[in-house]
């Protein structure tokens, strides 16, 4: 919560006063150590005095009273957190315990530490559990009551749509396919704040972005309406070199096929198109696998349009690593050009269609020595193993040629709701087309002025072209409108007006937008917009019903890609590349599988409305053959993903998933510190402070006799230096428990010849060993985990960082969700019903 580092400080850093010489915080500059010692002793003396008074209080009964809590504070807290010492920058003794809301930010920090059990630090006296808990509860209840009386819902900034939201909005508005145009690639990358790229403050508008919007709107509007003047364009789909093409590549390719590629290609017009195939080559640019003839099957929407035969024309020649052009020049030439004629011209109707290029599997094998599949991809791809199968390198689709018309694409059907019968009703038809588009794009009822703006552009384009070009120009105008690109929330105008700084309930239309961008990362649909226009969303039952409907809708998959993708660092999976010398089995298919698994897993949590805690403890996951091999789960065949039960205790839940384990490792080795930090930040909500500058990278030491040390032994260096140990004592043990998973998430029992020691201990002495026990330990603090999840969800939902003033709302959501064991729908609906989501603070004068 908030950005105050003190709040985040590792709880075990507080110097123990009066015991000079013990570890000091690495950041603090000790100017007067002796003075501190003296004050420390005085503090202890006072604490001793306080003890006697408090002891009296305890005997008189458990009834909570402000002054009794002051006594608790006096005894256990003021020792360090007083005006003179200002430990961790926290001064409690001058605060008025009777009026907590005057210092709410401070007390929220206190609550946080108390609920984590982190304060007083280990070794210092602590009240008994009953008093401890009742104190924390007292603080919470008081602050919650104050917040209910005077809510502070925050004031999210004018909020630009990010790339993902823009693309989804275009899709929902115009039915333009993601395959037809890669919208995110038209715009520059967005920045992130607080871990999410939908943070309103950091989403700025630069001239480059504006140019991007202008050119994107032009392309999109032309594509949506259909551009009859489109010139031929060639689109190439590459199969990444290191994707294994040993098996059926996707559900979209026929059964009994091997390798190849299936793409959804957008054909802009009813016309003829050309398809060219290029096969994979090795490092010498010889085409792989030409020793025997193979067939290539080309299909359009499942219908075969061509079969090619390639290879086997020079079967008398042995395969070799290289050929000299002196005596084998023409065979070498053949190896380099055998795919030159793999081209077919065909007719296709406008729209997005499935194009598949693949090799039908041979039903018989030639006799000879059986070769196992080659797993070392570097060798296989670069040199070309004999008996290797040919593979598709790329498919290029070009066109349109001889266009016959714009056809009937999904987007044309959606947009062109009428077609003019003559010149006289063109303008009426244009209005009929543009009004609903403007309404959905601007997310509010259209005004006469909106229509006029659009008609002006329609008319000027119409005068130079035809009706559809006029519509296209108006559509382009809609897509760069500030009310499309931004979510703007307005303080209520007089007479409804509010006092400055007061909280007010946002309008139904504004609420509809917040709701759809939260759950769908897109614009509201017609049903939601209708209800908002009629003022029905004010009704809590209607609001909840809509929220549940939207969660059940497939569009809520956006939560997986955008929320989970960023919260769990899943987006990094595409960027990691484990070192092929150390992990020769790693390839692009495996990487894809990593990402798919966690996305399907998270989605199953949402769709089955599981408890949030099941993220850690669920006994199922999703694998395909490649991934199952990686996890050593037997008897899984085929490229498609299916649900399996995880019986291995160590693999259960998120912590056993290769995606998480790989993005928290280096390219050549595991990094327990990174894994520990990931857990602290994303699961426990207590991220450590950043390391001091100029930390040298770990010295890779050798042990005795040149035997390499294990990762754990090397990390002892962290403990050796007390300045480092303070944080690493917390982070490293969590990572050690996962050491059995290597840097690609594979299970191992040795590291460099030494057996793995996966034991760890928390700073206050709780031991654990291995992933299963780590998981149990994390689940003994379920509150911390669900609080973290809720805070992350709230950050994502509001598009702003979560502040101390939101803590009462978080607590409220959790209280309600606790009854059902913290199911996802309870959290998500709880957020929708919460004060920060439904209200806004009006501007200060």
């Amino acid at each position: 919560m908030g950005t105050d580092h003190n709040c985040r400080r590792c709880p075990f850093l507080i110097p123990l006063p009066g015991v000079a010489g013990l570890k000091l915080r690495w950041r603090q500059r000790e100017v007067y150590p002796r003075l501190r010692t003296i004050l420390g002793w005085i503090g202890i003396a006072l604490a001793g005095v306080g003890y006697l008074q408090a002891a009296n209080q305890e005997l008189s009964g458990p009834a909570p009273h402000a002054s009794s809590y002051r006594a608790v504070l006096n005894r256990y807290c003021f020792t360090c957190h007083n005006e003179n010492l200002k430990t961790a920058g926290l001064v409690l003794d001058k605060l008025n315990v009777e009026n907590l809301s005057a210092d709410a930010p401070v007390w929220e920090k206190v609550i946080r530490k108390l609920r984590a059990g982190a304060m007083p630090p280990a070794g210092m006296p602590r009240p008994d559990k009953a008093t401890y808990d009742s104190f924390a509860t007292y603080l919470e209840t008081t602050l919650d009551r104050a917040a209910a009386a005077k809510p502070n819902p925050g004031r999210p900034a004018v909020h630009r749509l990010n790339r993902a939201e823009y693309a989804n909005a275009i899709h929902d508005l115009l039915a333009v396919d993601a395959n037809a145009i890669d919208i995110p690639s038209l715009l520059p990358t967005d920045d992130s704040g607080y871990g999410f790229d939908n943070n309103g403050d950091v989403l700025t508008v630069s001239p480059m972005l504006m140019e991007g919007y202008l050119s994107a709107s032009r392309k999109i509007s032309r594509l949506a309406i259909g551009d009859r003047g489109a010139r031929p364009v060639f689109e190439t789909y590459e199969v990444p070199r290191f994707v294994m093409q040993e098996d059926r590549m996707s559900e979209d390719l026929p059964l009994g096929s091997r390798g190849g590629i299936a793409v959804r290609h957008h054909f802009p017009l009813d016309a003829e198109y050309v398809l060219r195939i290029r096969l994979q080559r090795n490092a010498r640019t010889y085409i792989l696998g030409l020793e025997r003839p193979h067939q290539l099957d080309v299909r359009l929407d499942g219908e075969r349009i061509k079969v090619f035969t390639v290879g086997g024309e020079r079967s008398d020649k042995p395969s070799a690593e290289r050929y000299s052009s002196f005596d084998q020049g023409d065979y070498e030439h053949y190896l380099m050009t055998a795919d030159a004629n793999l081209e077919v011209r065909f007719a296709a109707k406008a729209g997005t269609r499935l194009v598949g290029v693949t090799f039908p599997t041979a039903t018989s094998e030639p006799e000879g020595v059986f070769q196992p599949p080659v797993m070392d991809y570097a060798y296989a791809r670069d040199y070309g193993h004999p008996d290797m199968e040919p593979a598709v390198g790329s498919v290029t689709i070009g066109g349109p040629y001889d266009a016959r018309g714009a056809g009937e694409t999904l987007s044309r059907r959606k947009i062109l709701v009428c077609s003019p019968t003559g010149a006289r009703d063109e303008e009426t038809c244009a209005k009929r087309i543009l009004s609903p588009l403007a309404r959905r794009a601007y997310r509010r009822p259209v005004t006469e002025r909106d229509i006029q703006d659009l008609l002006n552009l329609y008319k000027s384009a119409r005068s130079e072209g035809d009706f559809e070009e006029g519509i296209q120009a108006a559509l382009q105008r809609i897509l760069v409108d500030p009310e499309f690109l931004f979510r703007i929330e307005r303080d209520p105008a007089p007479p409804r007006g509010t006092a400055p700084g007061a909280a007010y309930r946002i309008s139904d239309l504004e609420l509809a937008s917040r709701l759809s961008f939260f759950l769908w990362s897109s614009i509201p649909d017609d049903q939601l917009l209708d209800l908002a226009e009629r003022g029905k969303l004010k009704n809590p039952a209607v609001l909840e019903e809509q929220a549940r409907r939207m969660l059940a809708d497939p569009r809520s998959k956006a939560l997986v890609s955008n929320f989970a993708g960023q919260w769990l660092y899943l987006r990094n999976v595409q960027k990691v590349w484990p070192n092929p010398d150390v992990f020769p089995y790693f390839d692009a298919s495996l990487r894809e599988a990593f990402q798919q698994e966690t996305e399907l897993f998270f989605e199953s949590m949402l769709r089955e409305n599981r408890s949030v805690l099941d993220l850690l403890s669920a006994d199922h996951t999703f694998v395909n053959e490649r991934l199952a091999r990686h996890y050593q789960i037997p008897n899984i065949y085929g490229n498609h993903f299916r649900r399996v039960t995880v019986s291995d205790e160590n693999r259960k839940g998120l912590l056993g998933q290769a995606s998480i384990l790989t993005v928290t490792s280096y390219a050549t080795r595991t990094a327990p510190t990174i894994r520990g930090r990931w857990l602290l930040e994303n699961i426990l909500g207590t991220p450590p402070p950043p390391p001091p500058p100029n930390v040298p990278s770990l010295d890779v030491k050798k042990g005795e006799g040149g035997i390499p040390l294990t990762m754990r032994q090397q990390m002892e260096q962290h403990r050796a230096n007390p300045a480092c140990a303070s944080c690493h004592k917390v982070m490293d043990p969590l990572g050690f428990a996962l050491e059995n998973f290597d840097a690609t998430g594979k299970w191992r029992t040795t590291d460099g010849g030494n057996p793995i020691d996966a034991s760890g201990a928390t700073p206050d002495g709780i031991q654990f060993q291995g992933p299963a026990e780590l998981r149990k330990l994390l689940l003994t603090h379920p509150d911390q985990f669900v609080t973290t999840v809720t805070e992350k969800l709230l950050t994502y939902a509001l598009g702003r960082g979560v502040e101390y003033s939101d803590a009462p709302a978080v607590r409220g959501i959790l209280r309600e969700a606790a009854a059902g064991n913290y199911r996802w729908s309870a959290l998500l609906v709880g957020i929708v019903k919460s004060t920060p989501f439904q209200m806004r603070r009006s501007r200060e004068p």
């Binding site: 504006m210 050119s215 010139r231 060639f234 490092a283 070009g398 552009l457 307005r490 501007r843």
Partner: protein
């Protein structure tokens, strides 16, 4: 791919450089061939940076003698026709590219990041990348006021195809050599079609009527939007207005560019077709990109272009000249002669393509001379010995007339470890964008014009 149907018509000279004359003339900037009528030297008109990755075989690059009578070496031989327009500069170094304590990898990342900035990049794999502002962006900020695009950043290698980056360093350091601010790397474009579209819009041809229509359409859309946004802004509170102000400022910027484009739209451009895809071979791809650059300069669509002929750490193979091995692995030749020979072949191949570029620049008229006369071109790389990852004695050529500020045909050797940023500072002066310092510079280079 490219079909030129018309001959290139004459161009009018650049407008809008009048402010440059007010600056004092700096020592060493007096052009050798200044005409009597010129009381002040003209600033250079265009900047081009062509980058070579992975180091060069220096013993075949560096001429044996210094001064004017030097012998062309095998690698520089393709550039012999332009001998009198180029300066071979030896001895420059990027001290900021060397490894600091704790950095045992990253020479390629540092090479790329320091080349135009002289600032040691932060070692990180995360989002907190930090390098230094690059010299081309400084020039672009100034020259970009007069052109549709402030600068263009081009390359031939897409980042994805080339595998991992150096451990400990994010790929951002190797994917680009241009940094607009210390934390904003400029993405590099490798697709000729995308470059074409940035220059000429996404119409399929450079037909002026089509372009003009598109420009007018964009203009009217932006006018309509501006009116609405101004209305909207008025109805919001001060903190909310800021976002809409940003939006309006961005629009204004785009409108200015559109206006420049409109003013220039009446110029005849050589008719050419939009490139459809990425050419399969290096030579086709490189030549196409060079063609687009010449066109961009010629039509004054931009005056600053940076082009990476290859990416640091890149493993491109040059099958068409009989080299099937990856470039980067070859440069780690371990002193094996066959590998060294191949690297030399690659270096020569690059130089041949650069010569193609220079020939086009020389034969394109520009005002009272050719494009080459008014350009400053930096051709070189940020590593000398690719085998040992050395950041000193860099391979550097300064080519072009620089509007008379470069007196070519000489090989100049600077004292060992003279900072390369000194050259960058000197180049900034040529464009009348003087800076006190850049990266770890210690002053300006002399001997450039004398």
């Amino acid at each position: 791919m490219m079909i030129f149907k018309k001959a290139m018509p004459r161009r009018t000279f650049l407008r809008g450089l009048g402010t440059a004359l007010a600056l004092p003339l700096l020592d060493g900037m007096v052009p050798a061939f200044a005409r009597a009528a010129d009381t002040a030297a003209k600033p250079a008109g265009r900047l081009s940076i062509v980058y070579l990755p992975n180091g060069i075989m220096m013993d075949k690059w560096t001429p044996a003698t210094e001064g004017a009578g030097f012998q062309m070496t095998p690698i520089l031989e393709p550039l012999a026709p332009f001998r009198d327009r180029l300066l071979v500069l030896s001895g420059l170094a990027h001290n900021s590219g060397r490894a600091l304590q704790g950095e045992n990898t990253g020479d390629h990342a540092r090479a790329g990041a320091t080349y135009l900035s002289g600032v040691h990049p932060r070692k990180t794999e995360g989002a907190d990348t930090q390098a230094g502002i690059s010299m081309d962006q400084i020039v672009a900020k100034e020259l970009g006021k007069h052109t549709q695009l402030a600068s263009l950043e081009l390359c031939l290698d897409t980042p994805e195809l080339l595998g991992q980056c150096e451990a400990g360093y994010t790929c951002a350091y190797m994917n680009t050599i241009c940094w607009r601010t210390p934390t904003t790397p400029m993405p590099m474009e490798d697709r000729p079609r995308a470059v074409f579209e940035r220059l000429f819009g996404d119409s399929d041809s450079t037909d002026p009527a089509v372009r003009l229509r598109r420009i007018k359409r964009d203009r009217s859309i932006l006018d309509s939007v501006t009116a609405k946004a101004a209305r909207l802004r008025g109805s919001l509170g001060p903190s909310d207005q800021a976002k809409l102000t940003e939006y309006l400022d961005a629009i204004r910027d785009v409108e200015r560019r559109i206006q420049t484009a409109e003013e220039q739209s009446s110029r005849e451009l050589p008719t050419l077709e939009r490139p459809a895809g990425v050419p399969a071979t290096f030579t086709e791809h490189a030549k196409l990109m060079f063609d687009l650059q010449v066109l961009a300069y010629q039509c004054d669509l931009t005056r600053v272009i940076t082009f990476m002929l290859g990416r640091e750490f890149g493993g491109r193979t040059y099958r068409e000249i009989g080299i099937p091995d990856g470039h980067h692995s070859l440069t780690h030749h371990q002193y094996k002669q066959d590998k060294i020979d191949k690297v030399i072949q690659i270096n020569i191949y690059h130089a041949k393509h650069f010569a193609y570029f220079l020939e086009k620049l020389r034969s394109t008229p520009d005002g009272d001379g050719s494009l080459l006369d008014h350009m400053v071109i930096l051709y070189g790389g940020s590593l000398s010995d690719g085998n040992s990852h050395l950041h000193d004695n860099l391979p550097i050529l300064l080519v072009g007339g620089g509007a008379g500020q470069i007196k070519g045909g000489r090989h100049i050797r600077y004292p060992k470890d003279t900072p390369m940023p000194n050259l960058l500072l000197t180049m900034l002066d040529m464009f009348r964008v003087p800076m006190e310092s850049l990266g770890d510079s210690t002053g300006k280079l002399d001997l450039l014009s004398v």
